[in-house]
């Protein structure tokens, strides 16, 4: 489960070694995934993940349980990664700027586009899945930052749209739009028979 129990968080705040280890272990995959989503390469993502956990462990005492712990943490990680991009002189897209600027995707309904290709209904699903994971990685790199981050959070365990909106600091409908458009773009990008 992604969200740690309040008791575990309280023990970690009190400096309990086992609780801190459990907290870090339970969140490291999610934090690294966010960092990968924003930084695009494993080395930078590892740096940002480490920095995020250093900041987390220093500021754990300031967490007041007014929001979900994961929401608080993922927002912290997102901000650290965006700062990291700025420090590296890389372009930083605003998270809410790409929701309304899509390249003609709305010309056709999502249902029509997704139903166009039979490619993913092949019987060799396992093989296709592995191959698709490689293709998806490439396709993801072409998504706007906000869509990629929203999709990443969307696939975390127990993350609701409201939690994603809070973690990204965006309105709920904008987050839904990011996720829908992101899926549509990926569905098209990963289909050989592109009929957009």
């Amino acid at each position: 489960m992604a969200e740690p129990s309040p008791a575990l968080v309280r023990r970690a705040q009190a400096g309990d070694r086992e609780a801190l280890a459990a907290l870090v272990q339970s969140q490291q995959t999610y934090v690294y995934s966010i960092a990968m989503s924003l930084m695009h390469n494993p080395a930078d993502a590892a740096d940002m993940t480490q920095e995020a956990f250093i900041r987390l462990l220093r500021s754990l005492g300031t967490y007041r349980a007014e929001t979900k712990f994961t929401t608080w943490l993922y927002r912290l990680v997102t901000n650290i990664c965006l700062d990291g991009l700025r420090r590296r002189g890389r372009p930083v897209e605003s998270l809410d700027e790409s929701a309304t600027t899509q390249s003609g995707e709305d010309a056709q309904s999502s249902g029509e586009r997704l139903a166009d290709s039979d490619r993913w209904s092949q019987p060799e699903e396992e093989v296709t899945l592995r191959e698709s994971a490689e293709e998806v990685r490439d396709a993801l790199n072409h998504l706007p930052t906000a869509q990629r981050l929203a999709l990443t959070l969307h696939y975390f365990e127990d993350m609701r749209y409201e939690d994603i909106a809070e973690a990204m600091g965006l309105p709920l409908n904008t987050v839904k739009s990011h996720i829908r458009r992101g899926k549509e773009r990926l569905a098209v990008a990963l289909s050989n028979s592109v009929e957009v």
Partner: protein
């Protein structure tokens, strides 16, 4: 329900257990296919976007957690002011033993001080004679030997306490460990 609405809801809705939606997906081959594709897309994206960190990073993060569990480094003289006497004097076996030894040492030292004062000021009564009688008794000879034993015990206790202070859990040892130095 229109097919376009179904695709929209399949793409963004949290709750997929809508009977009307399920019925439409079951009845409409086009939406069945779309639902299958979206499910497949979810599986592929889920495995591509949620990735475990490399082992080296996991090890570094585990070390960070262990490091954070240590209490902040505070000079031992600052911690003296924060000592909680109630905790220190809690009834533990070693504390009971230490308190017993302290009581015996206090009694012996009181007796010596009393004797010294009596020798210096033999004014009230015949204290000197009484002390001579007491000092000559076998019990006092035995106590004299016991006193030497207790002094030795006290001395070694001081050595033990000093060793504990230098150990990893001791006041000085913890400070040395947190500063990155290692004892030889």
């Amino acid at each position: 329900m229109q097919c376009a609405d179904v695709a929209e809801r399949l793409l963004v809705d949290d709750l997929r257990s809508d009977p009307e939606l399920d019925q439409h997906v079951a009845d409409c081959p086009r939406c069945t296919h779309t639902a299958r594709k979206i499910a497949h897309l979810d599986a592929v994206l889920g495995s591509a976007l949620v990735v475990a960190p490399p082992i080296e990073l996991q090890q570094r993060l585990a070390q960070l957690a262990v490091g954070a569990a240590r209490p902040p480094s505070v000079p031992w003289w600052s911690r003296l002011g924060q000592l909680n006497l109630a905790d220190l004097l809690a009834q533990r076996p070693q504390m009971v033993a230490a308190q017993g030894i302290a009581a015996v040492l206090l009694a012996l030292s009181s007796w010596q001080i009393f004797g010294l004062l009596s020798a210096l000021h033999p004014v009230v009564g015949d204290v000197g004679y009484a002390m001579e009688l007491v000092a000559a008794s076998p019990a006092v000879v035995y106590l004299g030997g016991l006193q030497i034993d207790l002094q030795g015990l006290g001395l070694w206790s001081v050595v033990g306490v000093f060793g504990w202070l230098l150990s990893e859990d001791g006041l000085i040892g913890r400070r040395i460990a947190s500063s990155g130095l290692r004892l030889p």
